[in-house]
Symmetry: C2
Subunit: 480 residues, 2 copies
Amino acid sequence: MSRASSKWSSSLNTTRQLPKLSKGFLSSLKKVAGKGGLLTDPGDCWPYGYDNSRRQALPQAVVFASREEQVGGLVRLCTDAGVPLTARGLGTGTTGATVPDRGGIVLSFERMDRILRIAPEDRLAVVQPGVINASLQRAAESVGFFWPPDPTSAATCTIGGNLAYNSAGPRAVKYGTPRDNTLGLRAVSGAGDILKTGVQTTKGVVGYDLTRLIIGSEGTLALITEATLKLTPLPEAKRTLRATYADIHAAAQAVSAIMAQPVTPCALEFMDSSAIDMVSSYAGLDLPEGAGALLMIEVDGPAACIDEAQAAVGEAARGPGLLELRLAQSAQEVAALWKTRKALSPALRHIAPKKINEDVVVPVSRMGEFIDALERLSRETGIRIVNFGHAGNGNIHVNLLINPDDAEEVARAAECLDAVFSLVLRLDGSLSGEHGVGLEKRDFVHRELDPVALRLMHEIRSRFDPKGILSPGKSLPAPD
Amino acid sequence: MSRASSKWSSSLNTTRQLPKLSKGFLSSLKKVAGKGGLLTDPGDCWPYGYDNSRRQALPQAVVFASREEQVGGLVRLCTDAGVPLTARGLGTGTTGATVPDRGGIVLSFERMDRILRIAPEDRLAVVQPGVINASLQRAAESVGFFWPPDPTSAATCTIGGNLAYNSAGPRAVKYGTPRDNTLGLRAVSGAGDILKTGVQTTKGVVGYDLTRLIIGSEGTLALITEATLKLTPLPEAKRTLRATYADIHAAAQAVSAIMAQPVTPCALEFMDSSAIDMVSSYAGLDLPEGAGALLMIEVDGPAACIDEAQAAVGEAARGPGLLELRLAQSAQEVAALWKTRKALSPALRHIAPKKINEDVVVPVSRMGEFIDALERLSRETGIRIVNFGHAGNGNIHVNLLINPDDAEEVARAAECLDAVFSLVLRLDGSLSGEHGVGLEKRDFVHRELDPVALRLMHEIRSRFDPKGILSPGKSLPAPD
């Protein structure tokens, strides 16, 4: 089979010569893209070749689609010519999934940014993939609803990207991930065929579930051109608590206690002491002496029982090692708390440009054990590790801070990361909760994936994308 | 390719001669099944060849598996010999999916009925497929949790069956279907390979979502041997309301109003006037004069705000045509109300042995229009139609009551059913909300499924089950 990988075969950097796009191909590309829909100058293309993994590679052309038929035409063109095609929202992903490491075409969905329909009576929204998460939230809010997925990058990330990675964010602990909040899709397969999956209703069991198969597949099966999203009514009231503990173990115990009682928080975030140190400079945190870990706990629901909900999680948060439990008293205080949490990721980036940021998951009951082992690892390897994340899901952002100029440290960090992954799997966890695989984790996930399941995934991929043009080589490791 | 369908090619009745199982095959079968694990006498096998579709066909052997390796061995045996294999829980399905219409082997999961683990701190349960839904609920309840899927047959249906059909029941309106409440699976593919899918955590995006692909695939891709289920904390309090309306349109309007406000009921069931007539004989319903439709509305949540929740849905239920809104005052009254609702299906069965029971879904906002059109259809065709179901999901059990001895009426009913399906699709609905496809709807669902998606489904199926031995010919219509 002539697969895209045969010519565009290995990871390319910008200096290496890419296989040339033929004149015929370029002229067809122009036709498909339409006026103003194509970039070919390397200088113009360059900004479309990065994502938040800090990897970057030069696409040979960038196409801006405005309509589904254009996407179909472009995919067919690339399939016929065996040219790699990488779909892209706004580049906030952290795994390199949208970096065109083998050259070829980048398809930007930024112009397919229309909210097509919001139907409160059916609790759904129909959107194009380039709609920004925050724009959808604003539109839904105006009729009393929201869409639960809420990544830290909500202000700039697209729904298409959220679906590609199954990105969730803090609210997932109560409201689930995109897979739990999407009813149906329209998409273009790697063969260039337009397909429709799922339903417009909250039940439906006709045919296999291609909707959730495509969600989380990082643009390797089909390119989403439209999504029917399930909306949730906005809660009437919300309370934000900050609980400070002497150490991370006390905080982990509190998380277990909170998740074992009936009131499910709508956010349950944590920071370890390194993370606290890191953001202290950003904001006057006003923490009690000896603060070793911090939980942000949010509950929502009907106004009539928000006091009781707050009391229930507050009670569960009280345990040995609690130093302070504080209720945010004003909208300003809530905003300040969240600003702190959301500042963590960029703050880390600032301090350690080469941080390795993992988003592993372990069962909530194993978090204490996990954190213990991370501390041991940090001591043993001398690598500074900063942890924060979505504790209610056991989804921990483990950050290894390294000096990129210290080759020996870089090597130790690689070993340390390896040990982190082994640890996660030993604890029945997963290597990625919401960032996905892309290029960053591709060479690790075979450790987690069952070999039979992995083989089936490859076979499914080859049916959706027979020529292997959609993000070739990404997301799945080579079969065993 | 030597597919099972070549020899065991078409629907068989009990009188037709089935291809004989070879001596060698039977002796291997005995070895795989172990002592007491095999039936071959037709008289013994006969009870394992039916489901609640009232179809029945004779399996040539019945195997009772106790362990996953046995399932693997059996599937490999059937794959090698090209013998059809039909998996079965306890036969409560309504679509014929477990009826061995082409003979071959029936695999009963009734002995794989152990709850392996319940972990409240991680909000999960690990179960074998033969566990009865109600047994799981009891075990989960003892630690303060429940598993949301709750089909009417919960007392006798298995978790494996619930997963095979993605069966949901009334609580889905608030808590979702099995796809929303399952974290991971172990299964045996049609090639006889054991595979593991998903995670033990509430987030995870490594690899494609094979978990939800297998859920709802009716035993045509892989046979589930173990499931990790997501548990939900039991609500503290519950209230059950009965709202009676002058006619079904008033009730449909109330459903829309209830679903457009923030308090999501945990059940929102309805019955039309024919359904009311039908169950009146079962129970003293004590309905107001002129009752033309009935809603059962249940809300649950923290005790502290159950009054407010009840008030909110009650307010939404009040509209033109409301005759009475009554709160069940005691546990007895609640039980009586639910008994009425749950008696409907068997009552209908009793009155009309050949009832055609559909479980179509339409968007909630289209229910009024749908019911109108059904009434018109009933008048035009002279077929009596009884409607009830899960109104909050727009999941309506449309029952056509026919006299099986009246050939002319049977023919008219077929036309009527055809029109019902066209109507559902015109209203953006789905032909099955939770019963699935099996044999009953196989010849209709091509109208709903996108042809490209259907082709991909067939291709996926052929990768999971290369010899086509798992329930051959069922669930998916032939490709276009």
